[in-house]
Amino acid sequence: MSNNNAPTDIADLQYVQYQGSKEATYLPAIRQLISKDLSEPYSIYVYRYFLYQWGELCYMALDSTSLIGVVVCKLEHHRSGTFRGYIAMLAVQETHRGKGIATKLVSMAIDAMTARDADEIVLETEVTNTASLKLYERLGFLRSKRLHRYYLNGNTAFRLILYLKPGTATKGAQQLGDSGEMLPQQQHLEPGYGPSVTPV
């Protein structure tokens, strides 16, 4: 797998679910694509943390030779009581942005999590990342809160949430606990794509 920059007709793209048995084929390209827009790369453990446990929630957009886009997610029981999906990383090659590839990848991930009975899907994105906000908000996500200085670079984030099932709110609200993940900052994933992703 390589990350070449030659523009491809998006009609030729294939959308493929990740397979753990092909880690050697896919993972280097996934890492390269996602690292491009990060100030600090994630270690291999971060990728494996997601891909080993929730590989079936990772989708890739491929052309004949290279990886064009990828979305990485997890789905687990959250302490608020909900079965919560989380979109951890999303990236599309710069040359292919603005063609709806990210939207397609996220849609597939949402479908996959819905099929696995998720109550809700959450993610964070920088408040200044208009393209990303638009992408998710077009699909149905709403902003639930603003997270002050959420990222290592000091930027503030919005938490976005998409409810998939009725009753999710009261399921989560039965406890006094915060609906957010209150872990130290290193945990926070930087948005896995550049500021210029434009959905179609």
Binding site: Y42, S43, V127, T130, G140, H148, D178, G180, L183
Partner: protein, 781 residues
């Protein structure tokens, strides 16, 4: 599994993994039975341990390599406690972006700046100002490792840990070398900075704050002279000023003056930061600091930078478990602005201690402080919180009783101090004095409520994002409190009929409703709601404010009755009546604000509903969502409240979708246009705007004293004015739409003829008259 906590393994890069006995067992490498494949490994002799000092080291490289072959690529060996956090904390050695010990070919491990090199006076100035930039970057929330701790000079003073201030020298490790006068001056300045940092950390950690969100307190095992009294450091700074005056004579006087004012600034700054302040002189600490700032700003042009005196290589010695991170560069003018802001905010914070000791005054102050144009930094907020929470819970119980008196017990027997002086009857069979019973009911209530009350105050001292999140928690606590309060109210009612109905419940309920309003309004301020959500959210706000309006109207009637009755009484009662009349103004101010909020929200909700049918607000397609699910998400923080506050979904829909969904109306376009062209459509909206304007004008007329905002008059007046301007702008927008509606043939026409501004992402930032009021601008194209 590789140990990245030692530099040797990563810098030598020989791939050898050293494991001690304990950790080898922890890794599970000795447990051959762990997997069937591992069990098939040939038995080997245990290698001889290398005894190195007290610890034994086994070379397990070969075994490890062999054992790991039993794993598939990509397979993760982990227990259920291995979290995302840990996976993110992991580093890959020999990756230059993650491994801080990685050396590029020819790169040296340590920086090679000589801290004893002779410095030009301009360079001393340059280093001082660079340090100030990093200090302010740290105040903004970046870690010391990317700011002040990149300074070679600071590093020399702090490591290895000096046993005394005298030991903290630039020539450490170079016995026999001495420093010259300018170096001594720089050293004193650095000592001053280090002690300042110590005070800052002490203050912030003594209050509620969020590590890394508000501030990074990590000092990487360096002690910032915590045990050295600050007088010692002040003394060093004074000596430095003397040295500068007497021993440094061959330099330009302007440069000398510039260095001197920095030393003087550092001295005053350190005094102002000191936790040992005198409450009587609190207004005297910050003005001298601020007074020195112009001289620093104007002399910065004399400074000459010394980039080599700072290096990220020092990070290698601070921690090896964090990837190398760049120095956070803050321009001098930005850093200076931050410093100026910090001094102003702290000076402002001291005013808290001079306020009228009334809870409403205090809370007005907290709101004004949190709403300053530039958000006060973590230090400034902690500094203020230091005054707010200076006492124990008893002080807050007192404030709570005052709060009750100001709201629901006007000159009331229930809070008469006499009640707390009555002894219980000796014989437990005798009935207790009613006054004693009242006192114990109030005590029960304050005991029960004080924690929630303190938490509410704590929320008001947080950064704005956190404030909204904490209010969501506090709201649920007050909801619980409300049901408890009603039981105590019944007990009170059994003792006396001369009461506001359900006084304690009223007090809790009012504060609860206010918190709902704050949460929604902070949501507007923080761009939480998308443009097509505004009609619904303002409708909800209108409903909550309406409930509060009713509650306060009933309360006001009670105050008026009490005033009238007391006026007719004896002299002592007439005096009380005057006090009731004075206190009533506060209820009137609250009521005016509630009415204004209700009416302006209702007007905006209607306006946004109309604009939605003209496709003038962005409406995302949302294939994965439904209005019901979004409603659930939006109402979540309020869903469990008793009584029910949220508007039922169907009612909400009828209100904001009178012609069916905005994007696909069920009514024909012509009938919507017709509706838009009728004067009757706008009359109720105009009427609402007018009532809002009247209410806010009344609030303005009542003034800051009535609203218990005497201590922050100006900010208070500014914010009331902002609400009034918002009303005017709303009126203009309604008129703009009405004026255009006549030209429309169908709803689709509007897009080419009108544009709505001030609503979309980032458009409102700093441009709103009041952050809580998103008023659209209807522009004719």
């Amino acid at each position: 599994m590789a140990d990245t906590s030692t530099n040797e393994s990563s810098t030598e890069g020989d791939g050898e993994i050293k494991v001690t006995i304990g950790s080898a067992a922890d890794c599970g490498l000795d447990r051959d039975s762990a997997s069937p494949k591992q069990a098939q490994l040939p038995l080997r002799q245990v290698p001889q341990p290398i005894v190195n000092g007290g610890s034994k080291v086994w070379d397990i490289t070969e075994r490890f390599t062999q054992a790991s072959q039993a794993l598939k690529i990509g397979q993760l060996v982990k227990d259920e406690y291995f979290t995302l956090f840990e996976s993110i904390g992991a580093l890959e050695i020999m990756d230059p972006k993650m491994d801080s010990g990685f050396l590029q070919p020819g790169e040296t491990l340590e920086e090679n700046y000589d801290a004893l090199r002779t410095l030009l006076p301009e360079e001393v100035l340059g280093i001082m100002d660079q340090l100030l930039c990093y200090e302010m970057a740290w105040h903004q929330g970046y870690p010391l490792s990317q700011t002040l701790f990149t300074s070679v000079y600071i590093d020399r003073l702090l490591w290895p840990e000096p046993r005394s201030l005298e030991e903290a020298q630039f020539y450490r490790g170079n016995p026999g070398r001495v420093t010259d006068a300018l170096q001594d001056v720089l050293r004193a300045y650095c000592l001053g900075i280090i002690k300042s940092c110590d005070f800052v950390i002490g203050k912030i950690t003594s209050r509620d704050y969020f590590e890394e969100e508000d501030f990074c307190t990590h000092t990487y095992n360096r002690s910032l002279f915590s045990k050295v009294p600050h007088d010692f450091v002040l003394h060093e700074l004074e000596i430095a000023e003397e040295i500068l005056a007497t021993d440094v004579d061959d330099i330009d006087e302007t440069v000398k003056a510039a260095i001197n004012c920095r030393l003087e600034f550092r001295r005053n700054f350190l005094v102002a930061l000191s936790p040992d302040y005198s409450i009587n002189f609190l207004d005297k600490y910050w003005p001298p600091v601020s007074a020195l700032l112009p001289a620093i700003e104007s002399s910065h042009e004399l400074a000459r930078v010394v980039p080599d005196a700072f290096s990220t290589k020092i990070q290698r010695r601070l921690t090896s478990t964090v990837p190398p991170r760049p120095i956070v560069e803050l321009e001098f003018k930005d850093a200076f602005a931050k410093l100026k802001q910090l001094c102003e905010d702290c000076a402002e914070a001291t005013k808290y201690t001079f306020l009228d000791p009334a809870p409403e005054e205090y809370q007005s102050f907290l709101w004004a402080f949190a709403s300053r144009k530039v958000q006060p930094s973590a230090y400034a907020r902690s500094y203020l919180a230091g005054f707010v929470f200076a006492g124990d819970n008893e002080i807050f119980e007192g404030l709570l009783r005052d709060d009750l008196a100001a709201m629901v017990f006007p000159e009331d027997q229930v809070l008469d101090p006499i009640n707390w002086t009555i002894d219980a009857p000796r014989n437990p069979l005798f009935p207790k004095d009613k006054r004693l019973q009242m006192a114990s009911i109030i005590d029960d209530f304050t005991n029960r409520a004080v924690q929630n009350y303190v938490e509410l105050w704590t929320a008001l001292c947080q950064n704005r994002c956190r404030m909204r999140r904490m209010l969501c928690h506090s709201l649920l606590a007050f909801d619980q409190l409300q049901s408890d309060a009603s039981i105590l109210d019944d007990e009170l009612q059994a003792l006396t009929s001369d009461l506001q109905q359900y006084p304690l419940t009223t007090w809790v309920y009012h504060l609860k409703l206010r918190q709902i309003e704050w949460i929604i309004q902070l949501g507007f301020e923080q761009d939480i709601y998308l443009p097509d959500e505004l009609a619904g959210m303002y409708l909800f706000l209108a409903k909550v404010a309406e409930t509060r309006n009713r509650l306060l109207s009933t309360l006001l009637e009670f105050w008026e009755q009490r005033q009238k009755r007391l006026e007719k009484g004896k002299k002592v009662d007439v005096e009380k009546a005057a006090k009731v009349q004075e206190g009533k103004a506060y209820i009137e101010a609250l009521l005016a604000e509630a009415v204004g909020t209700e009416e302006l929200s209702a007007a905006l909700s209607s306006l946004y509903t109309l604009l939605s049918y003209l496709h003038l607000l962005p409406q995302p397609p949302r294939p994965f969502s439904s209005p019901e699910l979004r409603y659930d998400l939006r109402t979540k923080p309020f869903a469990l409240l008793q009584p029910v506050e949220i508007i039922p979904f169907d009612t909400l829909t009828t209100h904001i979708h009178p012609f069916g969904p905005h994007a696909a109306p069920t009514s024909p376009s012509e009938s919507i246009v017709k509706h838009l062209q009728q004067a009757t459509t706008y009359q109720p909206i105009d009427a609402s705007v007018k009532r809002a304007k009247d209410a806010f004008a009344k609030l303005k007329k009542l003034g800051p004293k009535a609203a218990s905002a005497e201590g922050v008059k100006e900010q208070w007046s500014g914010r009331v004015q902002g609400r009034l301007f918002s009303c005017v702008a709303a009126g203009v927008a309604v008129a703009g739409l009405r004026g255009m509606a006549g030209e429309l043939v169908s709803t689709a026409d509007a897009e080419g003829k009108l544009r709505v501004e001030g609503v979309a992402e980032g458009e409102g930032e700093g441009k709103r008259y009041h952050e809580w009021w998103i008023v659209p601008k209807v522009v004719k194209l």
